[in-house]
C-alpha cells in the first residue's frame, strides 16, 4: 500500500502475466461486442501479417495496468487518474509485465504521481502516468 512513507524514485512491485492466454480473448470479444477478428481468428492475423497469435484486447491490457496501480495504491478507491498510451500489440503467448516508478509525492495534498508502463515479450505495450491517493 502506498503510504505517506513512499519516496520519489521508488519502484513499484511488478505485475506479470507469464503467458497471455488466447482463450479469454474470445470471452472479452463477446463482452465488448468487438467485431475485430484479430482478437479471435488467427487466419485474419496471418493475413494481416500479425503472426499466428491473436491480439489481446486493449481493455484487458488496460485492466492489468489498472490492477498493477491499484495494488500499489492499496485499493480501487485510491485511484485518482490513470492516463495510458497504447504503444503496441500484446499477442497470445506473450509475457506481459507492468513496471512503474514514483515520480512525485505531495504530502500536503496526499497524492503521489507514478510513471507506469507495460511490455509484452519485451516490446513496449503501454505507457502512461497515474495519480493515486496516499494512505494515512
Amino acid at each position: 500500500m502506498a503510504t505517506r512513507e513512499i519516496q520519489v524514485g521508488q519502484q513499484l512491485e511488478p505485475f506479470v502475466i507469464d503467458s497471455v492466454d488466447p482463450e479469454p480473448m474470445k470471452t472479452m470479444a463477446a463482452i465488448l461486442e468487438d467485431p475485430n477478428p484479430i482478437h479471435f481468428d488467427t487466419n485474419v492475423t496471418r493475413e494481416l501479417g500479425l503472426g499466428d497469435q491473436p491480439v489481446n484486447q486493449g481493455p484487458t491490457n488496460l485492466t492489468w495496468l489498472t490492477e498493477f496501480v491499484q495494488r500499489f495504491a492499496g485499493g480501487p478507491d485510491r485511484l485518482v487518474t490513470l492516463k495510458v498510451r497504447f504503444l503496441g500489440n500484446v499477442l497470445g503467448g506473450d509475457r506481459f509485465e507492468c513496471t512503474g516508478t514514483v515520480t512525485a509525492v505531495d504530502h500536503d495534498a496526499g497524492v503521489a504521481e507514478l510513471e507506469v508502463g507495460a511490455t509484452s515479450d519485451g516490446r513496449p505495450a503501454l505507457g502512461g502516468t497515474a495519480v493515486i491517493k496516499l494512505a494515512d
Binding site: I17, D21, P24, M25, T27, M28, I31, L32, E33, D34, P35, N36, P37, I38, V44, L48, G58, P59, T60, L62, T63, W64, T66, E67, Q70, P76, D77, L79, V80, T81, L82, K83, V84, R85, F86
Partner: protein, 145 residues
C-alpha cells in the same frame, strides 16, 4: 480524402447503463484476475463509458467510415476517478466527440485520431463517478501528401 473534423461536438446518445454483476465477474475472469461479485474492477471504466455513451464499437467505426478489419487501434485512454464502479449500479452518462485530428507519420501513414469523452455519474447523484477520455486511431489507406 474527406475530413472528419466536423464531428467535434457530436453528441452520442448517452443515457443510463447498469453494470451487470455477471459481466463484472466475467470481466475479471477473462483478465485472469480474482472475480468478485461484490466489487467491480476499475478497468471496467472503459466498458461502462462505452456502453454509457450509447454506442457500440461498430457504431463508432460507422461514424468514421471504418470497417472492423481496417486496422483501428486505441490511441490514448484517460480515466479520472471520482468514485468506484460497483456491480449492479446504474450510471447516467453523457458523451461527445471532443475532436477528430487528421495526422500523418512516416510509418503510420495518414490517420484520423478520434477523441471522445464520457462523463459517468451514479443514477440520481450530482457527483461524478468517472470521466473517461478516449482516443482511437483510424488508419486511412491514402498516404501523406
Amino acid at each position: 480524402m474527406s475530413d472528419y473534423g466536423h464531428l467535434a461536438g457530436h453528441r452520442f446518445p448517452g443515457g443510463t447503463y447498469t453494470l451487470p454483476p455477471w459481466l463484472s465477474w466475467l470481466w475479471a475472469d477473462a483478465c485472469k484476475l480474482e472475480p468478485d461479485w461484490a466489487t467491480a474492477h476499475q478497468g471496467l471504466a472503459y466498458l461502462v463509458a462505452l456502453r454509457g455513451a450509447g454506442v457500440s464499437i461498430q457504431d463508432i467505426f460507422d461514424l468514421m467510415d471504418a470497417t472492423a478489419d481496417s486496422g483501428v487501434v486505441f490511441g490514448e485512454f484517460q480515466v479520472d476517478y471520482h468514485g468506484v464502479l460497483r456491480p449492479g449500479a446504474t450510471y447516467d452518462c453523457e458523451a461527445e466527440v471532443v475532436e477528430v485530428e487528421r495526422k500523418s507519420g512516416r510509418r503510420a501513414g495518414v490517420f484520423d485520431k478520434l477523441t471522445f469523452q464520457v462523463k459517468v455519474r451514479e443514477e440520481g447523484s450530482d457527483d461524478m463517478t468517472i470521466v473517461c477520455t478516449n482516443s482511437w486511431i483510424f488508419p486511412r489507406a491514402e498516404r501523406s501528401d
